[in-house]
Amino acid sequence: MTAAVEVRVTQEAGIPVAALEGEIDLANAADVRGRIFDMVTNSVPGLVLDLSGVTYLDSRGVQLILELAERLKMRHLKFRVAMPEKSLVRRILLLTHVDAVVPLDTSVVQSLALMRDAQ
């Protein structure tokens, strides 16, 4: 059974943006990881993960972001994660020091701008 999470993918100026919506936990983390990994090809410059719509994220979700970061780094691809400043999900990512590995932005617009600047 799949918990209530949706993965929506869009392209902004050639950069894929994966927007997650709902709750991410043990029940669906593996499924979400698979779906995101599938869209990360060598032809893209990087990936923006939009967690604005995530209402809950547990340590499996944290694990998922760290694994994603590691994979993209190995392939020399850029990776940024976006969520509002006041988001409770951000608190979890800060507590688990994800920000030391992946830059956390406050919006997708900011992520895309910073990713383009770095190119």
């Binding site: 059974m1 209530a4 936990d25 979890i92």
Partner: protein
Amino acid sequence: MTPRVLVVDDDPALLEALPETIRLRMRGTAVETCASAAPALQQIADVDYDAIVSDIKMPGMDGLALLAQVRTLRPDTPVLLITGHGEHDLAIRSLRAGAYDYVQKPIDRDYFVASLGRAVQVRQLRRQIAEQQLALARHAGRLEETVQARTTELRRTIEQLRALTDVAAAIHGARGVDEVLHSVVDAACRLSGAELAVAGFYRGEGQAAMAMGEHWQTALAPERATAQVPVDTLAGVFAAICAGDRSPAQIPESVFAPLAPAAQNGGAASSFLALPIRGRDRQPLGAMILARPGGHAFTPEARVQIEALALQAAVALENTRLYERARGTAETLQRSLLPERLPEIPGVALSARYLPGNHEAVGGDWYDVLTLPNGQIGLVIGDVAGRGVLAAAIMGQLRNALRAYALEGNAPVTIAEQLARLVDERTMATLLYLIVDPETQTVRYLNLGHLPPLVLGPGGQVTRLDGGAPPLGVRGVAYREHTASLPAHSTILVYTDGLLEDRGRSIDEGLARLTDALVRYGEAPVDDLVDGVLASALDGRAAEDDVALVAVRLAPLNPDRLVMRLPAVPSSLAQMRQTLRRWLVVAGITAEDAYDITTAINEACANAIEHAYGPTDGTFECELSFVDGLLTATIRDIGRWRSARGQYRGHGLKLMEALMGKVEVISGPAGTAVQMRKSPARQGVRV
């Protein structure tokens, strides 16, 4: 037989001589004498003489007068008259008057003896003929009686045959073993004059277990006898009757000893008649015992009738058994599709009932309760038109498809559209799908031709959740879901039409009754509520159609304590968080603290689920208390041993420690317990 002759004469010389002659010449003849006619008549009235000899000329009544009297008194007795010499006229007159002969004086003894001898002989022959005629008449009479008796017998046989036919009709019209047995015992009493009859159907395997009461289904007539004959006693007697291949007459009287007290009914000893009921393969299906108190034995006709009855009973029981097996298949199929147990969700009381109707085939009613991926509760009830294995099979398809779509997290409208594609035009099925969200206290629902859900509010008012679409099987329908709010303490009742069906009552009347019952049992625990609603809706009648009903109540959570016991599967996490968030709100904990607590507890639960992972599903328990501002959470995986592999090295433990401060992990042989404490900020209790 000794001939008796009476001689009447006023002449003493003749009165002496004639008897002398008769005695000498007609040996063995008894002679009596009389000196005048009047006393002679007296004697003739008393004695039936074989012949009378009388002089004509006598003082007083003469011989002719005497003859006339004798002719009326004893018309068959020959009379010989004695006339004077040459008195021919008198002789002729006497013959005309009916004398057998006349003898002239002086008496020719040879002639006299010959004539008297003939008279006696004729008289005796006549008497013989009369006797033979009488015998013949008697014989004819007896013959007549025999014919009449045979006719009566034949008529009775026809009546008995007719009675047996009526009985056969009753037995074969009976539904179920119980009805068959009852019609058998009733018929047995009517056919045989028995005052007590008991029939039993053996449900066990093999003859070894026959003496055990648990394997017998019995019926007694009259009903009052039931209390007097325990079924264990009966089983022993039945087993003895079925033992071997004895005829009823070969069953020893001692077998019935245990039944004697029940059969006695006031004194005189009872006659018993017992026989096994054997099926086509001669294997005993059951047995019957009849008793007649008061020393009345069973007639041979009754025995024949009862044997015929046993044959009818055997056919009916075999058919019933076959039918029960077929029905059992459909019932098992249907039962296997109903939830074995309802999910346990703190603060959500659930109760469901399913009552098979007394219809010959099972219906297609079903219900289902699901914990959805987001922790909300999916409630399903439906009814496939038609009955039997086919309806049960369609119901199974719908139920499984709905489960799959619902557990994928699909919206009600999407689910309905998918199901509509499964059902062809020949199938008609009603369906009600509700999503109850205890956290937001709302319900989303979609009604496809089903009876409306009823909601009993906390104030005791009942509202109908209206709005819906045609049943599944109707093409081209645009589905639309509806929403309603569910205040705390609300109870939702969903049900199938079997609950309302009652000939002579409209659905509105049925709904009004149901509403009344719902209000009446509104304060009761949900288990009592569904029982109460079921009882008052059926009002003593057996449910004609299948009945399914489910009640869901949003019960208040205790702000001091929360205990959740959940299956150790990843999908339990969402439900755990749902309930936990509800409780944290009730406990008055701020949103930010609530998020931290939820995340920490979720980590501990996720670990418990991973540890409990194994070939069979385990459970885990999450217990929280909030006393004097201190929140304590304990998460245990129950009944499972695990080796300490250091699973808490990852982010989980880090998160728990960061969010809660102190985390204790206690490993024991029965499982692992994780305990966390925190003093969260409160924002004032909200219920």
